[in-house]
Subunit: 294 residues, 4 copies
């Protein structure tokens, strides 16, 4: 099922994410480089972390009058600017839509929320693949015309099954993976294939209540606010760089069941916010933390 | 498309919504009435508005051992309790699923959010009918197997077309209507057929920015927070009893376009919250205000 | 310095906090007991925790026409109602102002917030005593005309110094203690003298970042929201029953210093909210959790 | 009463607030101007409003090695940069503490909150003057050692009394005025003397419930969230540029009285946030809107 809306007439842009030790002149040099080559800047945000002495920047400019051909931008920037300041950078193009794979289990709320944005035309992405360890959500995938693969794992076959998953990701040319309440722990080996490219939603306000059954734990502890956390997956469970969090007030009236109900809304909104920021190339990761540009 | 989940083994309950002048003994009388007749109370919330001298109550009890047959409860309660205290009440049964009709235009986010909860089995409702003034969302209705009727109105044919809508609502035995960003004003005549049974979502923090283009108005005014408001529709535009509201912080960085994007999440969550409360029979309306029980 | 405002003409009330196994008829029995004896109920809230099978209630009624003399209410209620249902209860009178002692260190924001509400006449309390381990805030105590005692502790003299504190609390007839960023851990022995009567503010969203330097830990972890938590002090550090929590959004832009600044507003509001609820006798503690009535 | 804390060892900085039509090269030119003259930039934030084609910027740099003497910076920047791009700018120095006058009536919560931050050393400001139309808060001013002037107005003497106020503001060398729940409308003539330098707190979520008795109006309308708004005062009542807003959830349970109580916390936090941003020179006003830098 294709998007019911189409975007037309949007100018292609280049996006540069920059990260280096803070030094005088970086900002001026980068903006001059773009100005001199007729790159019309439509977004610029930068930040200096004075505690760590680090400079971060996201700049986006229009390609249509830019003097440097797009395939050479990376090379020119590396040679003319990056080397001088010791800059690490990533270059993206707005007309390259990242391809997403969804990993799901039985719960549908995050899946639906993502698909509704996809079909609604809110996101610049392609979603060709859904992988699950249960059949439950296959009918939904079918309604949306997205390939659905059942891959069930147990302790014994986990490595083999993950290899099947990696093969599928490769076959479908997937750029990043979204765990939409997948409820399975991926191996370090799997994760290492997609560094900062696997987004998970954890149904608690991390670092509180990491691990299993966070709503039960929250209820047991008697907190007055619950939360949800989206983060990049790393080798350490629920300990990767946090992208987005949100919370909702609860009270003694709430049972575990009502926490689960209220939490669903948090989970889907917080996960989709993280995916949106990832698609916009607005996330930069360092020291297991994120810079999320506005 | 049926729900992918099923609820089983749930006991049927009766729900009583009560509203009257506050007097001594109402609460004791109502709870005694239920206790004496072996009605196991599973929910009770009440409130006294001391400014207006009014008493409100919602009580829910299990029917299986209740001594009074369900078809006679209303009569008995009227005779034995309500008359004595001048109580106005509404009686509902949990096994009677309210039937919802959705009115939509071109935007899909609220529609999707409602359908995802419906299909996900979160709500006790039936949604047999979608009415729209545009063809845009027909494919989505089709995917979910819900009847979709195009009814286009102009100034000249509005009365006739609304009659068609009322006929459809009647034909489908609709209990209440949800305007999921319908973008059309219903006539007083239409509204009078469904008092406190038409739920609208307005994309502002009412009473600020009632009427058209609230995000433009919010941006123009330079507010630092935007909101969304769900309310029952009355004859006065955007002035009906408010059911739920939520807000999100914005800043000078936000364009009208980004307000629209951020607002979508508010709108769908706030509308669905109102629908959920309506389905739970937790809303009581008086003096153009709502009591929304927890 | 006395309050700049005075409350006059307020009727004295009795407040009953109730807690027992849920059984049929408790609510009706309690309200009848009050109605029959001409106790005009001005507040009633109750809740059943169906997971634990527990019933909670707070009811407040006017004393002026109540048939039972205030000194006999407890006895009558115990005999006529409580025994029948196995109710545990606490009885309070609105004209008995709880006496508060403040424990402070160097930071003034929570102290000021509490004193401003006290002087502003917002709270029904007396604050005759401030204890500190530093001289820093003595001038503020002096300005407000409140006795200030310096009691410095080290590992060696802790038990003796705490005994001095207990003597002071006794001498000043203190009902409950508020740790307004006191930054010292009280011994179990001390705490056991004031069960559910010592309120602390912890500068994190507990259970995340318990212990020392939570803002540093939050910054290090890269969370997107920080919080503050008020709770009753128990033998376990930062693990007592939570009374109130609040949060504020942060981003990669925030340094530890700005977290500290933003956190101050959270801390003072969350602590004062807890004190207010305590003064209103709206908190009921069980299983290391709180019921906080509206 | 002086601050109980002192800041030492802080380097003096210059702060430039910039505002102009967006053109290529502004950002590079400004940062180069500072870099070339050895101005170590410690803060830079900029934004382009693409809808209006406007560029905004706040940059702050250390003065100690800056090549241009502070008294000549404005002239040099005007000549070398501002003319070229048509930039409007304001230049501030961090060691020049703005002097604040407080206008109050009878309510103490905003006054206390501001004084507690002042005394606590959180703010770089001087507060030598409090003006009120009531005697109520004179004792508090006395406790804090701040001059208090009673200036009572009626319809007849308003112009004369405002002239007295203006004379006092002049005498005390006041830079900006904070209306801490002053409850009086200032004349256009008065306001015109302090453009974007009078900060008011309105006890509603503007533009909803402008004018008198907003909590009564909010209760009457049955909103589910209330708010507070700080803004610069202009000739139009409650219609000046909004600086900060915050909200809190309410329900049918809340009486007007409890809205007033909950609103007090909003009011003081939102007003103090606006004052803080003003003191930090982080607010830029255009088209009756504010840019509030982080």
């Amino acid at each position: 099922m294709q998007s019911i809306h189409t975007n037309t007439g949007v100018t292609n842009t280049a996006i540069l994410l920059i990260y280096c030790q803070d030094k005088q002149g970086i900002l001026a040099s980068v903006t001059e480089f773009l100005n001199e080559n007729h790159g019309n800047i439509i977004y610029l945000d930068q930040h200096v972390d004075h505690e760590e002495g680090l400079f971060y920047m996201r700049v986006e400019w229009e390609l249509d009058k830019f003097a440097i051909p797009r395939e050479k931008i990376s090379d020119y920037f590396e040679t003319l600017i990056a080397r001088k300041f010791g800059i690490k950078f990533a270059l993206h193009f707005s007309d390259k839509k990242p391809r997403m794979a969804l990993f799901v289990s039985k719960m549908s709320h995050c899946l639906f929320d993502i698909l509704s944005r996809y079909i609604g035309g809110d996101w610049e992405t392609e979603i060709p693949l859904i992988i699950s360890n249960h059949e439950t959500l296959r009918p939904i995938a079918a309604r949306f015309g997205i390939d659905f693969h059942l891959i069930q794992k147990n302790e014994k076959n986990k490595a083999d099954q993950e290899q099947l998953e990696l093969d599928l990701l490769n076959e479908y040319a997937i750029d990043f993976v979204v765990l939409a309440r997948y409820m399975q722990v991926l191996s370090d080996q799997f994760v290492s294939n997609y560094p900062n490219r696997i987004i998970n939603i954890h149904h608690s306000f991390l670092p509180a209540f990491a691990g299993a059954k966070p709503y039960h734990a929250a209820h047991q502890r008697g907190v007055k606010i619950i939360g949800a956390t989206s983060h990049y997956v790393t080798a350490d469970l629920d300990a990767g760089p946090i992208i987005a969090q949100d919370v909702v007030r609860i009270s003694h009236i709430d049972s575990v069941e009502s926490l689960v109900r209220k939490g669903r809304d948090l989970e889907k909104i917080v996960l989709s916010e993280a995916v949106y920021k990832h698609l916009q190339r607005k996330i930069l990761v360092y020291n297991n933390r994120t810079v999320v540009f506005n």
